[in-house]
Each structure stands twice: as structure tokens, then as C-alpha cells.
Symmetry: C2
């Protein structure tokens, strides 16, 4: 017999609930609430059974938690899912999306019809009830599904809230005062990114963040204690969290709402609510891994319904009283938003300057004329500078005066040049290091959570923030899943990745990226930019800030590079352009290079006196691919000229443009960068010698014998790498 059938919801809960500021005037009866929860459970079972797939267990086990959230605890307006001062809800356990979809339907989001939800796992391309929640659809704040990301996204949303509040709220004008709710299972708490994010949030004392733990003690492979025996509540406490516990989270709605109330009013720390539930409650396999990621089976679905007092022969049943139960969420939400609009109108009168800035940011606009504030090429330092330093120059020219920029680093802010004078740190005011209005975020040595948090910041309200994060290039590999999520969600941020290529030098092969850039170039929607000098760094900043729908990643040098004559920030926007040589004559040789190798390629070209040589700088491969055929062929005439790519990464991907390449064929080495570039063959003399020797092999009496597809030549084999 199912425990639901026997277990009574605490009959005093009606009274308890009335303490909640958002409670409805008309308290609901325990019977109605039981019906609501059971309706959600039966819907979950039906929807998974229909196409025999999906995750029913959490829908059933956590139905009461979701009811508490959408009925009593969260502030939102179903008629305007984008209302700025709504509470944010992040489903970190993204596979439980059906639970969210059902509540979005019940609470009155018009897009989320029952028919739409029935398309969960349906064989069509046009559904919105995707297998994991997707940011494109109303009521979904971010796309989740890769475990742990959501917790860090929620931390980012909470940072954004806190920063907005600290920047714009005034006495009597709490224009931003919403909460962030994050729903997590066991998995997100095991993942490293989840733990990084939790440690961050505890450090900052983000008391606007509430982490709701659906503690069902079951995972895909079975009982959680086969792999996870942390004392989670104690662990969260050790990381600076306020911890609450609920014993019967599958049924005790009143206890859940009470915990949520406490969490909402608690100050100084984020709150973790450890709620024990029974996964797949009502199923014959309740409490086991079998109900996690598979439909229950026809018979079991019928049993569930019988046990819960539903007709086993009927499907997708939502009694009218269940709709009635949620009916006031719409009017309540509209009322909340109306009151907020009035507040904002008064704020506009009282604080016109702040209000204007707030509204500019909510429109997604940067400060007017920002592009003109970037120092022009003629005023850039003439002596060689590392591109990471040059990036700092541009950052300082626009960041300090525009509150849109939330800048941070994974413990390397001086090396990555994201500091500025008189900056305020984003910190818990009690720490003595800054306050929540600060825009320099010290993410700690937590690259993965840094980027996922930035995704949350960027998703808080499109365009209101431009997150900028920084670390050494190779450390970004720790954050690759979150970079990918940013690209998938089309969120704008700027990733400052310094110490690129073997230019890292003495730190050695662990720190020298060789293959990682291929992933970044291949990733749809990401702007991977490797600027050649300070002027191209300006181009990278312009490209990133004008592209509102995509994240950008700057690959910057540790070592100094000269300011080159031919570079042009405007031409960076084409992805590649002629930086040296006569554009009007067909060259014998076209050298394509990126970043610090552009200068090296020009030096090489000057040594190749017997040839007409053109050098193309290609800071952004993907952008070049989008140009017209005419532009591409006129820039890189691979049908008329021998083309050689030069880049101290692996050659993977370069055969698309070049007949031959000078690349790394293995991992790097620990030695000063100047030694490494010579050793691995990137000295201009060696390059010129290798290129001319190869070019001679392609010379015929009829001109160049251009290698075809399948004949790409590695010019720097035998590098004798240690690794």
C-alpha cells in the first residue's frame, strides 16, 4: 500500500500557511492539497508512460515541494514571465523538468497548455516540453540538465540580484528585492561545480538564495549510499549556509512552506533546505533507482492512480478544483507586478539618474558612445605589450563608468589585467573587503562555477549585465561545460583567457593549451578571438560587445607582442584580413596566422625575399567563414597561392584554409617562451627555411602545384617534444 494512502497531511497546516505573506486569502483544505499533489503525481506518471520515457520519480516524490513553491512561496506573474522583480527558479536537477512544466501549467502560464506538456518525449520537433528545461521557453530561467550547473547559475542570479539591489535600491525603494530558488537533487551536490558554487555563495552570504534539496536518497544506479555518504547538512553549514531540514517532504506541505518562509526572512546567509522525499512515491518501485529515469509501466501507473484515489483508466486528469486551487496565482502575480510598477514610477521621480541608468540596462544597452572611449590605435603604446595587458587598457577605458559590467577572476585578477583603479569588490559587507555594489568579483579558484555563475548573471535579464571573467587559458578547460552552456543559451559574456599557447613558458606543458582552442572554435555560437596585438584586442572588445547574443572568448598572450602596422580593429570584425602584403597582387605564398604569431609571420614573410608573400591575420575563424565567397577567396587565394597556417596549437582544423601548416605536434615543455618558440620551430628563420623548402617542392614550370584536399603538410614534424 502506498504511504500516501495512509499518511495524513498535518491538519493544522491551514493555520500555519496563513503566516505566509503570499498565502491566499482563502486557505485551502487539506483534502484539496492532497488532491493537488496527487494530481501532479498522476500527471507525471501518465506523461512519462505515454511515450515510455522520461523521469517520473522526482515529479512524484517532489510534488509537494513544487506545490509549496508555486502556490505559496515564489513571487511571479504568470502573465509576464519576464517581470524583472520576479523570483527566479532554477531547476538544477533538469531531468525533473516535467515537474516544472506541470506547475507552470497549473499556475497559469498560458504557453504551458496541457497539450504542450503532452508533447514531452513526443516524436515531433515543435514541442516546448523538452527533455530538459530550455531557456527559450516562458518560466524557464536557464537551460539546465548537466548536473551541478543550475546551482552555480542560481548563485549567479543571486549575485545579479544583490548587485542590482545594492546599486539601485534606496530607502523606501526596494526596486530589486527578489529571491532565487534552486531545486537540486543528489547529483548536483556530488558534482564539483555544485560544491564550488555552494562555497562561493556561503562566502558571500547570499541570503537571497534558497537551495531546495530534494533528498530522495536515490540515484540512477540505486541507493545513494553506494557512492555518496557525506553529511550534507553539516557540509553546507561548514560552508557558511543556514540549514533547515524537513522530514516528510513528499507529503508535509505545511512543513515545507514553513521552511520556505524561514528561508525567505533569514538574513546574512544563504539557506539550504534538506527535504527528505520518497522518489516515485506511490509506485510499486518507490524509493528505488527504477523510477528515476524510466516510465513506470502501464500496470504500475494504474496502481499509482488507484492508490491515490484516481480512476486508473483515465489519463492526464486535472480536476477543476486543482485549477481552482492555483487560480489566484495569476491575480496575485499581476497585483505584485502592478505594485512594483508604481514603486518604479515613484523611484523615477525621486531618483531620476539612477532610474535612467536602471532603465537603460533593462533595455540591454551599454553606456552611450562606449566604442569611442576605446583608445584609438595612434594612442596605443608603441612598445611591445602582452595582449593581456592591452586588454586591460580597453577594459579600464569603459568598465569603470558602466555598471553593466560585472568583472571577475578565478584568483588571477592581476595577471589577467581585469583590475581598475578605485574598484569596489563584490563582497559580503561584513567581510570588510567590499559590498554588494562592487563589480570586481573574486570567484576564488573555482573556474567552473565562475562561468556557470556568469551564465546566471547574464540570464538575470538579457543585456542588463555583461559578465567578464578571467583566468589563464588552460584553466578555462575546467569550465568547458559552462562555456558550452553559454553558447547553447546564447548568453553574452567575455571570457578573458590569458597565457595562451606555449608562450606560457616555464610553467610547462600542463599550462600550455595545444588542443583546447579547437573545441572553442568548433563550438557553435562562441566567438573565439585570438588578437594579434593591442589594435586587434580593441577589435575583439568591439566584436564581443556588439554581439549581444553570443559569448566571446579572448585568447591573450602572457608575453609581449609588437603593435603591428597593418592591424585594424574594424577588420577584426571580418574574422580575417590582409595584414601585410599587397592586396592587389596574387601572392606566391599566403601565410595565415593568429595572435602572437601574426608578427612572427610578418617577420617570416620579410625573410622570404624570393617570393611575393601575403600575411593574413585570422583572429576569428568562425566570423571569417560567414563572409562572402568573394571576400574569403580574395583574402586567402588558396586556388592561386600556396597557403601556410602558422599557430603554436595543433593543426586540427587548419586544412580547411591552408595547404600546409606550422603547428605543435605534441604537448609543450617547461622553459622560457623564447626558448620554446625556437625549439619547436616557430623562429622566423626556421619558418622561412621550412616554408621555402616546402614551396620549392610545389614549384612547376606552370606555376604552383597547389596541394589538394587530403594533402595537408605538417611543416614542423620532428619537434622532438618531451611529451
Amino acid at each position: 500500500m502506498s504511504p500516501i494512502a495512509t499518511q495524513q497531511v498535518n491538519s493544522s497546516h491551514g493555520t500555519e500557511l496563513s503566516k505566509n505573506p503570499h498565502v491566499l486569502a482563502k486557505a485551502s483544505s487539506p483534502d484539496t492539497e492532497k488532491l493537488v499533489i496527487n494530481t501532479i503525481r498522476c500527471l507525471g506518471a501518465d506523461l512519462c508512460q505515454q511515450y515510455k520515457g522520461g523521469h517520473p520519480g522526482t515529479v512524484m516524490g517532489a510534488a509537494a515541494i513544487a506545490t509549496a513553491l508555486w502556490k505559496y512561496s515564489m513571487r511571479y506573474n504568470p502573465a509576464n514571465p519576464d517581470w524583472v522583480n520576479r523570483d527566479r527558479f532554477v531547476l538544477s536537477a533538469g531531468h525533473a523538468c516535467l515537474l516544472q512544466y506541470i506547475l507552470l501549467h497549473l499556475s497559469g502560464y498560458s504557453t504551458w497548455t496541457l497539450d504542450q506538456i503532452k508533447k514531452y518525449h513526443a516524436p515531433t520537433m515543435d514541442g516546448i516540453a523538452a527533455g530538459h528545461p530550455e531557456i527559450e521557453f516562458p518560466g524557464v530561467e536557464l537551460t539546465t540538465g548537466l548536473l551541478g550547473q543550475g546551482i552555480a547559475n542560481a548563485v549567479g542570479l543571486a549575485i545579479a540580484n544583490k548587485n542590482m539591489a545594492a546599486t539601485y535600491n534606496k530607502d523606501g525603494f526596494p526596486v530589486i528585492d527578489n529571491k532565487v530558488w534552486c531545486f537540486t537533487g543528489d547529483g548536483c551536490l556530488q558534482e564539483g561545480i555544485g560544491q564550488e558554487a555552494i562555497s562561493m555563495a556561503g562566502h558571500w552570504g547570499l541570503d537571497n538564495l534558497i537551495l531546495v534539496y530534494d533528498n530522495n536518497s536515490v540515484t540512477v544506479d540505486g541507493s545513494i549510499d553506494i557512492c555518496f555518504t557525506d553529511d550534507t547538512s553539516a557540509k553546507l553549514k561548514s560552508m557558511g549556509w543556514h540549514v533547515l531540514e524537513v522530514d516528510d517532504g513528499s507529503n508535509d506541505l505545511a512543513a515545507i512552506v514553513e521552511a520556505f518562509d524561514k528561508a525567505k526572512t533569514f538574513t546574512g546567509k544563504p539557506t539550504f533546505i534538506n527535504i527528505k522525499t520518497v522518489i516515485g512515491i506511490g509506485s510499486a518501485n518507490q524509493g528505488s533507482g527504477k523510477v528515476h529515469g524510466a516510465a513506470l509501466g502501464e500496470d504500475d501507473v494504474k496502481n499509482v492512480k488507484s492508490a491515490l484515489g484516481f480512476n486508473p483508466e483515465e489519463k492526464f486528469v486535472v480536476p477543476q478544483s486543482v485549477y481552482d486551487y492555483f487560480s489566484e496565482t495569476k491575480s496575485r502575480g499581476q497585483k505584485d507586478e502592478n505594485e512594483w510598477n508604481q514603486l518604479v514610477a515613484k523611484y523615477q521621480e525621486a531618483y531620476p539618474k539612477e532610474s535612467a541608468e536602471l532603465h537603460r540596462r533593462l533595455k540591454g544597452e551599454l553606456i552611450e558612445g562606449w566604442e569611442g572611449k576605446l583608445p584609438p590605435k595612434e594612442s596605443l603604446p608603441k612598445d611591445p605589450k602582452a595582449t593581456r595587458q592591452s586588454s586591460g587598457i580597453f577594459l579600464k577605458s569603459i568598465i569603470p563608468e558602466d555598471n553593466s559590467f560585472l568583472v571577475g577572476s578565478a584568483d588571477l585578477c592581476e595577471s589577467t589585467f581585469v583590475n581598475w583603479d578605485n574598484m569596489v569588490e563584490f563582497q559580503n559587507p561584513k567581510s570588510g573587503y567590499g559590498d554588494y555594489s562592487g563589480r570586481q568579483v573574486r570567484y576564488g579558484i573555482r573556474e567552473h562555477a565562475m562561468v556557470a555563475a556568469a551564465n546566471g548573471v547574464a540570464a538575470w535579464h538579457k543585456g542588463a549585465f555583461v559578465p567578464i571573467m578571467s583566468s589563464y587559458f588552460i584553466f578555462w578547460l575546467y569550465a568547458a561545460p559552462s562555456l558550452r552552456m553559454a553558447a547553447l543559451m546564447k548568453l553574452r559574456f567575455i571570457a578573458i583567457a590569458t597565457h595562451d599557447s606555449i608562450g606560457v613558458g616555464e610553467d610547462g606543458p600542463t599550462h600550455q593549451p595545444i588542443a583546447f582552442p579547437t573545441f572553442l572554435r568548433a563550438l557553435p555560437n562562441l566567438n573565439y578571438v585570438r588578437p594579434a596585438d593591442a589594435e586587434e584586442v580593441a577589435g575583439a572588445w568591439i566584436l564581443a560587445l556588439k554581439d549581444e547574443d553570443h559569448p566571446s572568448f579572448f585568447s591573450l598572450t602572457r608575453q609581449p607582442v609588437p603593435l603591428l602596422e597593418g592591424t585594424d580593429r574594424n577588420k577584426v570584425q571580418y574574422g580575417a584580413y590582409i595584414v601585410h602584403g599587397d592586396a592587389n597582387e596574387i601572392p606566391d605564398l599566403t601565410l595565415i596566422a593568429t595572435g602572437s604569431e601574426v608578427g612572427r609571420a610578418i617577420d617570416t614573410a620579410k625573410l622570404l625575399k624570393d617570393y611575393k608573400v601575403r600575411v593574413v591575420s585570422m583572429p576569428h575563424m568562425g566570423r571569417f567563414d560567414k563572409q562572402s565567397v568573394e571576400y574569403r577567396r580574395s583574402t586567402i587565394p588558396s586556388g592561386k597561392s600556396l597557403v601556410v597556417a602558422i599557430e603554436p596549437y595543433c593543426s586540427f582544423g587548419w586544412a580547411k584554409y591552408a595547404h600546409a601548416g606550422a603547428h605543435m605536434t605534441g604537448f609543450g615543455h617547461s622553459a622560457p617562451y623564447s626558448v620554446l618558440f625556437e625549439h619547436f620551430g616557430f623562429g622566423p628563420k626556421n619558418l622561412a627555411s621550412k616554408i621555402s623548402a616546402w614551396a620549392e617542392t610545389r614549384k612547376t614550370s606552370q606555376g604552383w602545384d597547389l596541394p589538394g584536399v587530403g594533402e595537408f603538410e605538417e611543416l614542423l614534424l620532428n619537434q622532438n617534444p618531451a611529451h
Copy 2:
């Protein structure tokens, strides 16, 4: 004034130390020990100052910890760094490598001469004192430097130790009973991977693991409390660790040794020793971020030396009494190894079967005739099977009887088919789920630490273990840094990555890898294999198990694929081969495909009736690149035939072989796989139509107008992806 000058080491420590089983007969005087510690500090200051780079702070602050380890607490034989039953030491804070190098020198590793150590940061290619410790060099167990990896590596070493001990030790024959020591700073404890690894180790109760925390409260950007305020000791306790604390870890050698002694004898839990130290102790900037990653400066180095009683004008000074202090480590180590050799000899007599197996594994050999145990093609199931299922068939044919294989999963062992009948789980015997002899490892939802731990298992003794880990393909992105480290270290393992491509289906774009495979293909030393069917899966296993020096990564399908007529496990070893069509005639069209698309390409070929079509299966790009020019040109005649690549990943990299490609141009979608393949254009009818339409545009009266480099054509543009 430096605290060292005033602070006395506890004079009773000589007595304390004698409790240590490894303590020397002749106890050293406090003065000598102070001299030893100060010598290490001055060496650290000198070695960084010499080439003005490196990390002096930890060398100076943790000199006493290192002295305790190498002088008193660790078991090792400097004359044989590879002695199997040595304690393992992992420097997770890899940037502090100079400390390890100095101790390797002082304790008598002949390779580590002072002259070698002086090459730290020197402008040469021939040094062994790399900027981070590298596995190639004696006394270094694994290459570290990416923070957090080392903790997980150490957990892997501890797993290996425990598993060997449980498998081979008998009453009176503790043939494997060593400890694993891991040295960590703040950074590794902030990184998610470190936290995952700590949670794992606590779960398993790995009491052979000792995590030594150099708690200097300083990081690159300054005081640790700007970003990290966890109560670390409480946190480790909550994750099942035994916790010890030492207050004055920069000076109180006796207290450190006492803590190490306790840790070595404590049973049931791993031990965390929280040791407070002062970074850069003795420097004018001690206790600050300034001494973390930069040389101190000439003046400060002199001041340090004066304060520590050294001549400020002398460099690289090691008093003879310091060498004398460590002199007995060599004889002690040799004695320990000799005794162990005697034990092993007796074990051979008493347990000849176990001994033979142990020795086979220590020679790095798998069970004889393993290849013959893989079911031949004719006995493979004829009905379509997912390649993940086929992989399970081969796994079951060789894994159960060879203890070399340590298999595991990040909570998806049933989905990835790495289970077998009657398997024993690697578990804490107290858990009731298994014991340490078990070879099915439940890593939990901790992909990153799983792979880094596997690196530790593989590095325990080359060839003694073949770690096999499994998860969904996209989740491996979480572990990308550890995959890269395996490739850099040339460690063999097999990564089972199931649910590849858009074939994942309903789980949607978060779960569908599009760009990640490019990284895996570009990564030096990694075998990325995408087999077409069960027969090619056999080829993948053979390739992986014969390649002792490299990790392998299998890209496997969720969905069923047919067993193809032309596939051949032996030809998989060439990376690519003709799987359909006449090898003796020049085709009009060559279709290259991988994995589940090989069958699809053959179906497409059959529809292209107006052309002579060849299909090439390319399970391993990198291996194909290593074949002779003749083989490559005869397999893919791109100079004579139109070549089209087909793969539902992005096209990045394919222009090297193909004139055109059918690929994903954006992220995937949530729908059943069959719907997705049709929608995105991978249905054979659509492929045939697109390919023939394109081919017609390249037809001339003189034959095919083969596109040149720079003219790669995407055949599946306009996929209308949602993302």
C-alpha cells in the same frame, strides 16, 4: 624580525620522534633540524631568484612539512624510485615543485643533483626541474599543476593500493601495504575536482590516504578570506574524514611528525591534516600573496638569509650536516625494499598462483590470449545493437577473469554496459555493498574526479591496472582536464562514452555533443575511436588494449545500429578503411563516415545509383593520419574522387579529408533520435539527394571538378536548429 629567529622548536621532539617506526636510531638535534629547514628555505629563495621566477613562498613556508615527510614519515627507496611498495607522494599544489625537488635531492635520489635543480626556470630545454612536477622524472608519481587534480590522483593511488592489498595480501604477507601522501594548498580544496575526490575517499574510508593541507591562508590574489571562508576541517569531517590540526606547521617539526604518525596508524577513514603555515616565512612579505608566484628580489633574499643565520652573499648553500641529516634515508629505504623482496619471495612459495598473477601484472601484461577471448564477428548478434551494448559484450568476455581491469562508472553503469555477472563492488567493507577487492567502482556523479582518480590508478605501477570508466559522452566534458592530463602523462585507460551525437534523442541539446569530439581528436596521444558497429567495437577494444602508452576514448551509440558486412576489427587498427564499394576502381564519390553514420552512408551509397560510390569507415582519425601516404590516398582518393564526410557533429576538422560534408551546423534538439536524424538531414534519402545535387555542380566534360583547399562545402546548411 622573522619568527624563525625567535621561535624555538619544541626541545622534547627528539623523544617524540622516536615513537615513529621509521625514525633513525640517531635522533637529530633541534639545532640540526632548524638548520635543515632553513637550508630548504634559503635554497627556495635562491632558486627562484636566480632566473627571477617560480614559487618560493610554499617552499619556505612548508619546509618543515617536507622535512617531516622525507626524513621521518614516508617509506621509499631513493635508489629505486619505482619500488612497488613505496609510499606514494603527490604534490597537488604542483607549483610548489621546488620543495619536492629539493627534498628529492637531500634524501638521495641520484638524478636530482643540485645542478639539475638549479635548472629550475633556466633557459634550456634539457632540465628535469620543470615548472611543475612531471611524471617522467624519478620520485614524481604524476604530473600535477592543474589545481585539484593531484587530490583525485592520490585517491586513485589509494584505490589501487587498497585493491592490490585486498586481492593479494594474505595472513602474514602484507605484500602491498603502502600509504599515499598528498600535499595540497588552498587552491586544490576550492576546485570542484578536489571536493569530488575528497567526498569519494571519505565514502570509501580510504585509511591509506593522508591529505596534508599546507594552510597558509594566502593565494595569488592575496589573503584567502577574500574568496574562501569554508571551515575546512569541519567540511572534511562531514565528508567522512579523520581530521588532525597542527598550529605552527612552519616550525613545529615534532608536532607535524606526531600528526603524521597518528594518520599512518588510524584506521577506517582517510586523514586530513590541517597544518597552519606562514607562506614565504622569513621574507619581508611573508604571509602575503607577493611571495606566492614571484621571486623575492635580491635584497629580500639577502634579508631572509641573514635572519635564518646564513651568509647573505652565498647562494645554493647546503651544509654538510644537512646532507648528513638525510644520509640514512638511503640505507633505510634499501633495507625496507630488501625486507619486502624477502617477503615477496616467501609469498611466491606460499601462494604461487597469486604471486604469478601479481608478477604478471607488475610486468604490465594482461591475461594471456585475451584477444582470442573476444567473440569473433560471426558469433556477434545479427540484430541491430547499440554500440554501447556491443561494448558490454566484449567487456564481459575479458574483464571478469583479469584482475588488471578496474571498471567503474559515474552513476550510469547499467546504461554504459560496464556491469558483469557476479561482479564485486569496490566498497568499504563496512558498507555491506562490497569490499576493496571489488573491481566495479561506483565513482558517483563525479566525472572529473573519476578520470583523475583513474589517472592515479593507471600511474600506480605502469600496466598493473587498466582503468575503465564510463559515463554519457557529454558528461565527459566535465572531465576534459583529466583526459588531457592522461594524454600528457601517456597513461592507458579506456573511457566508455555512451549516448554519442544527436542519437541521444529526447534528452535534448544539453546532452548532445556537437563540438566536444573535435577536442578529443585534436588532443595529442588520445585514441578517440568511434566504431560503426559491434565488429568495430571489437577493433576499438583491441586498439586500446594494445596501446600501452595512451588513453583511449570510445564514442558509442545509445541507439541500435546494424552489424555491417564490410566492417573488420583488424582494419580498425588503420584508423580508416574501405567498408563498402570496390577497392580496385576509382569511385565517383567517396563517403567517409564514422560510428552510427557508417551504416547510414552505406544506405546512402546504395541510393546513389548513378555513381560509383565508395564508403570509408574512419573510426580513428589520428591513427589514419599515421598510415603511409599510399594507404591514405588509396583509401580516400581525394585527388580523383569527390569526397563527402558524414557525421552528426560539427564539420570542424573534416576539410582535411573531404570536399564537402553533412554535419551539424548548430546544437541539437529534444526529440526521439529517429526524428532528429531526419530533421537535421541525415536520412539516407536526403543525404543522397543533397550529395547528388552537389556532385552535379562539380561535373565537367573532363570529369570531376574537385574543390580545392578553401572550398569545403557544408551540405546541411539551413537545418533550422532551435539553438
